[in-house]
């Protein structure tokens, strides 16, 4: 290889996790000084693992790392930071109750006479760096009060203040609106001009084309090569990432909605920090239709879903499924009314990790007659049920006795979906059903949801993925600040710039327009 000006050289990196997943297999990854380098791949391709190794969070099983020409052993993040590497995680690592300035100096706070934190100085440091790097933040605001976009700036500043010259951004745009993404890109370009090197993890093709210089594509834990961004087409990138040409648009016939299944009226909820999270939320979901809820995360979607599955108690309002109340009751009763939920956090609610696939797919139906013979389980019945579900939902596994936590993210989600969609539900609540899983599993799950809705189920889809919510939904509502701010009864003509304005609270429809979603 010709002598180039590489700041990071990762050679032959392999990583096997204790659960037996080979996340990286002999991966080479080279980053030039002062470039924006995209690391691309589906979820589960091994991007995050590779970056965790570079940031010292994981030790590689094999391979060597050279930073600025020096061979390094990155045994912990503090070692990585001392080598000038900084990372901004997908999920922010900030203390919500502290101010921006306090977060930025956390662990390296300036002291007065060696003991007391010099808060003024912390604010100065923050302001000075904010100006220098052109990342405008409010040093005195508490992190819990600032918008997501600003939190991200705080994270980037945090890394820069600690002396990072190489910045790793793990899917930085996943939580941002179109407008915020635009702003972030301007800032990144300006950092690049100041000589910083940026590694940008993403799987959004348009973003990559927009700001990166080069890109490395990963698939199944292996590198598929490095390319100049200008010299490769989106279709080509997609092919390299997925290994086949995927059409990510959802094929579905037009919905013929009839009669409301779920009716939510005037739902109110104020959380323990006295913030009104649900403010007069009313809507209906009809048979045979997929109603999407779009919105930036944290605008009440999560609480709404919690209420609808009695995992939380609203202050006021009603919710009924086919005329029967579902608020403040037992999950068993809700499920008996034909409601199923694909939960947002599959590791918390969706599965029991150390239990087998079989034990996971029967958790909602194990007490049914067909699975019991007197006092004992009908083992044969349970085996055939789980084998059917594994086959129908194409869960890739060694056997039904395999522990669920040993599966890949996509297959774990298929286990959850297999259970939730196979119970002949009348109402399916799908909360971020394809978050963090590979394209194959995503397509499969979306197709299943469409199939069930066309067969007459009502579907409430909550997704932070704007593409997904527009593509998959028949109609959609937008939530902002705990309220429904818009209702579109036809998603086919929607444009994401307009949606962004609603999602950011810049625009909202009239009450009459919004009220249209309350079908009887």
């Amino acid at each position: 290889m010709e002598q180039e000006d590489f700041v990071v050289q990762m050679k032959g990196i392999s990583k096997v996790y204790p659960n037996g997943i080979a996340a990286n297999q002999h991966v080479d990854f080279f980053v030039r000084k002062g470039e924006i380098h995209a690391l691309m791949g589906e979820n589960g391709a091994g991007k995050s693992t590779l970056m965790k190794i570079l940031f010292g969070l994981e030790e590689p099983t094999d391979g060597e790392i050279i930073v600025n020409g020096e061979q390094v052993h990155l045994t912990s993040p503090s070692v990585a930071i001392s080598k000038g590497i900084g990372m901004v995680h997908q999920h922010f690592m900030l203390v919500p109750s502290l101010t921006v300035a306090e977060n930025i100096v956390l662990g390296m706070a300036p002291k007065k006479s060696g003991i007391i934190v010099d808060y003024k100085k912390a604010v100065e440091i923050t302001e000075e760096n904010a100006k220098r790097f052109n990342l405008l933040v409010d040093p005195n605001a508490k992190v819990m009060d600032i918008p997501v976009g600003m939190k991200q700036k705080v994270e980037i500043l945090k890394a820069l203040v600690r002396g990072a010259r190489i910045l790793i951004l793990d899917e930085p745009t996943a939580v941002l609106t179109t407008q915020e993404t635009g702003e972030l890109f301007k800032e990144l370009v300006s950092l690049k001009e100041q000589g910083f090197t940026i590694v940008f993890i993403s799987h959004k093709l348009n973003e990559i084309k927009q700001i990166t210089d080069r890109l490395t594509i990963m698939r199944n834990g292996k590198s598929m090569g490095v390319y100049e961004t200008a010299g490769i087409s989106e279709a080509e990138i997609s092919r390299l990432m997925v290994g086949r040409d995927v059409v990510l648009s959802v094929q579905k016939e037009k919905s013929k909605p009839e009669g409301s299944v779920l009716k939510v009226r005037d739902l109110e909820y104020t959380n323990k920090w006295n913030k009104k999270v649900l403010d007069g939320v009313s809507f209906s979901v009809r048979r045979g239709e997929i109603l999407g809820i779009a919105g930036v995360e944290g605008n009440g979607q999560r609480e709404l879903v919690e209420m609808l599955f009695s995992l939380n108690v609203p202050d006021a309002g009603t919710a009924t499924v086919n005329g029967e109340n579902i608020l403040q009751t037992e999950q068993r009763a809700i499920r008996e009314k034909g409601v199923s939920l694909v939960p947002e956090d599959r590791m918390v609610y969706g599965i029991a990790g150390p239990a087998t696939i079989e034990e996971n797919v029967i958790s909602d139906r194990y007490s049914k007659k067909q699975f019991n013979k007197g006092a004992l389980f009908n083992v044969k019945g349970i085996h055939s049920e789980s084998d059917h579900l594994i086959a129908d939902y194409r869960i890739l596994c060694k056997s039904r006795k395999q522990q669920v936590k040993m599966l890949s993210g996509g297959n774990i989600q298929k286990v959850v979906v297999a259970r939730e969609l196979s119970s002949k539900p009348k109402l399916i609540i799908a909360d971020q059903p394809t978050r963090g899983i590979d394209v194959g599993a995503t397509e499969f799950i979306r197709a299943k949801i469409v199939e069930l809705s066309r067969a007459g189920a009502a579907v409430l889809l909550v997704s932070a993925d704007l593409n997904e919510v527009i593509e998959l939904s028949d109609s959609l509502i937008v939530m902002y600040g705990g309220k429904i701010v818009a209702y579109f009864d036809d998603t086919s003509q929607l444009d994401d710039m307009v949606m962004g304005e609603y999602m950011l609270g810049l625009k909202h429809q009239t009450d009459e327009e919004i009220r249209r979603v309350c079908y009887e």
Partner: protein, 376 residues
């Protein structure tokens, strides 16, 4: 294949933990004893072997006494397995054993049933009382959110002093020199399997039957399934529609039933009257056993055997050498440490995992290709 290899690893890891613990014990013995080799000999071999001039002779009485000692601890071990499986750290097994023994003895003294059913009735009453008393920590947990660990621990001492109160003031046989009840009626005694004075009673057979019953309950019934799922992930269980509160109560009531049975079977099989004046320790042993058995009922008899063997070895060592029997506490503590330490031999485990994964990779890729290709 790889699952089997990891199972083998886990067993080897357990054996290694025990070996290391014994090595730690050996270090202490060599440091403190003037006759370390004699002490070690009795500790390791004493329970099953007699040292004769002609050499080592297998001691069948030793085996019988070890099996007899397992009877109460199999029950408490099973009780803890069920409660820990539901992630309920209920430690009241200790007190409930004493209560069960007391109630069983009273039934054996005051109920006049002249039939082989007499001990059965005594044990069932003791079991029922054990189950009812466990409602206290269970309901406090479910209804008020009180930590079952704290309430059950306290409950032990309440039970002990209440039992002692009734023993002293209501049921004591004043003709005897020490505090004890009147003799248990012969009809209520649980007989030995072979009458040889080793106290290996039919209680052992009942204990083994309960191992099978509890294993079936935990792995082959909807209640056991729900209890295990709640123990693994309570949020998941709740969301799935399981009756979490009811199952948490059920697991602890079953724990109480088993502990109460164990206590009464022990008293009716081993003693002529009820004479425990402090907590008997079987409940604590049950915790050790459940941990060694990884909450799996099937492994309980093996763990109980090991603990009984170790106890007997320590007794022998204390009898025939200058090492005190408290050495067993050091050994048990060391075993605990190595068992509980997740990272113990983790590097070696990682090596196995890496090897397995590399082997599986080729197969997996093939399987994936087939699955994708076949379904389209």
């Amino acid at each position: 294949m790889s699952n089997r290899r990891l199972l083998v690893f886990n067993i080897l890891r357990g054996v290694a933990a025990i070996m290391l613990a014994l090595a730690v014990a050996a270090v202490f013995i060599f440091l403190t004893s003037k006759e370390p080799l004699t002490a070690m000999k009795y500790l390791l071999l004493g329970p099953l072997v007699s040292f004769k001039a002609t050499g080592l002779v297998f001691n069948s009485t030793g085996l019988f006494t070890i099996l007899a000692a397992m009877i109460p601890t199999i029950f408490t071990g099973l009780a803890v397995c069920v409660m820990f499986s539901a992630n309920q750290f209920n430690l009241a097994g200790e007190g409930v054993v004493m209560l069960g023994g007391f109630v069983g003895a009273l039934c054996g003294i005051y109920l006049k049933i002249n039939s082989p059913l007499h001990p059965v009735v005594c044990v069932l009453v003791a079991a029922a009382v054990g189950g009812v008393i466990m409602l206290i920590p269970a309901l406090l947990k479910v209804k008020l959110g009180a930590s079952e660990m704290v309430t059950s621990l306290m409950l032990n001492y309440i039970i002990m002093f209440v039992v002692l109160h009734f023993l002293n003031y209501n049921f004591a046989d004043r003709t005897k020199g020490s505090t004890q009840t009147y003799p248990i009626l012969d009809t209520a005694r649980i007989p030995e399997i072979i009458a040889n004075g080793t106290k290996l009673t039919w209680g052992f057979v009942i204990a083994i039957i309960f191992v099978v019953l509890v294993a079936l309950f935990m792995y082959r019934t909807k209640w056991g399934y729900a209890i295990r799922m709640i123990g693994i992930n309570q949020s998941f269980a709740k969301y799935s529609g399981m009756q979490v509160g009811a199952m948490i109560v059920l697991s602890q009531v079953i724990g109480g039933v088993l502990s109460g049975m164990g206590g009464s079977i022990e008293v009716l099989g081993r003693f002529n009257s009820f004479l425990w004046k402090e907590l008997p320790g079987y409940g604590w042993a049950g915790i050790t056993i459940a941990i060694l058995a990884k909450n799996n009922p099937i492994f309980v008899p093996f763990a109980a055997f090991f603990i009984a063997y170790l106890n007997k070895g320590c007794q022998q060592m204390a009898t025939y050498s200058d090492v005190p029997s408290e050495m067993i506490d050091i050994i048990q503590a060391a075993i605990f440490l190595f068992f509980a330490a997740e990272q113990f031999l983790a590097k070696y485990r990682q090596k196995i995992v890496v090897k397995n994964t590399q082997m599986d990779l080729a197969n997996q890729a093939k399987a994936a290709a087939n699955a994708e290709g076949g379904s389209h």
